[in-house]
Amino acid sequence: MAAGKFTRAAAELLRILGTDRCAIVGGMAVNAHGYVRATRDVDVMANMPLPEARKLLREHGIEARLFKGDPLEGDFTCLKGVIGVGPRRVDAVPFDVIPPLVPFEPDRAIELLVRGEKLRVVDPDTLIRLKLKAGSAKDLYDIAILANLHPEWEERVLALAATTKKDAAQRMLALMRAPRVRGQAKEVARQESALRAFARRIAREG
């Protein structure tokens, strides 16, 4: 079975920007690390100046706009564009290319093979740093869910949170322990376990 449009778009962006210089971040990375939910775009962090990334994309016929974010609003400068992975309108996938907002070592990215497409997903440590830096309610919620799904992450999340703002570690701990977050994480884990059991059954019967 062929890969879906988000996977193909991500693989193409990584090929264009250089697989050794970037990694998938954002919703797709959160999905890969365990918190599966629908996404509408592909986010790539590139270890290069944005004008260079824009030039590389343009050389492949992809136009990207430089979006100047307001740091006071928690935004950051990034490239925004749309990549087509097929002839239909629905084959268009919006994407963002962000600069290394946190210390980023592309060698640490996790290489995955998804239905024949090579992807490189940001490692847990960089993902945690990135989400803490972005700092929106959704970003912190994502980290809290992931820390509940992977208890081995908890200590690192709190240590990294402590380096950001005063009280950030206590707030993060409170969020991780919140009944709503724990409940959601349990549900995510239950669904994944059910899907794995289903896949095993299909494999046995098929």
């Binding site: 890969a3 879906g4 449009k5 988000f6 996977t7 919703g27 797709m28 999905n31 890969a32 690390h33 365990g34 599966v36 939910r37 629908a38 996404t39 509408r40 290069m48 100046p49 740091p71 629905v90 600069p99 290394p100 210390p103 070592e105 640490r108 996790i110 290489e111 995955l112 093979l113 998804v114 239905r115 992807l119 997903v121 490692d123 847990p124 440590d125 081995e152 992450w153 200590e155 690192r156 402590a162 380096t163 950001t164 005063k166 994944e192 899907l195 794995r196 896949a199």
Partner: protein, 133 residues
């Protein structure tokens, strides 16, 4: 909390991705919660120039008539090599705990989750489009 690096290391790392003038480099570091002693910035940039790790060029800001030219600093190839070597040391020091590294089984699960999320995303998009027609 703010990190304190030596001014020399901090400035070299700040120049890694692009050139900049003194105040710009200080702001870049401040933006990443790294404090440097401002009074040390220009003397250290001069020292780095003397060592051949950094070069400078005078440029007038674009579109501002009569504006004072600024001194922009950029890494030389020797400077870039030093930056990469220092970066490797710093990253090794800050390396994430091994417990966060995925096993081959984790990788298979990660790939499966991407497929699952993709199916979910495409279904959500179909529903959105159906709602519009």
């Amino acid at each position: 909390m703010r990190a304190v690096l030596t001014t020399r290391s901090a400035l070299l790392q700040a120049l890694r991705l692009r050139a900049g003038y003194g105040l710009d480099l200080i702001r870049r570091l401040e933006g990443n919660a790294v404090s440097v002693a401002e009074a040390r910035v220009y003397p250290v940039l001069k020292e780095l120039q003397a060592e051949g790790l950094v070069q400078s060029v005078q440029l007038a800001p674009k579109g501002r008539r009569g504006a004072r030219a600024r001194t922009y600093y950029h890494l030389t190839p020797a400077g870039a090599a030093v930056v990469e070597a220092e970066r490797k040391i710093l990253l090794a020091l800050l390396a994430p705990p091994a417990v966060l590294l995925p096993t081959p089984r984790d990788r298979d699960r990660m790939a499966a989750r991407i497929i699952e999320a993709e199916e979910l995303s495409e279904s959500a998009e179909e529903l959105r489009l159906a709602g519009k027609t």
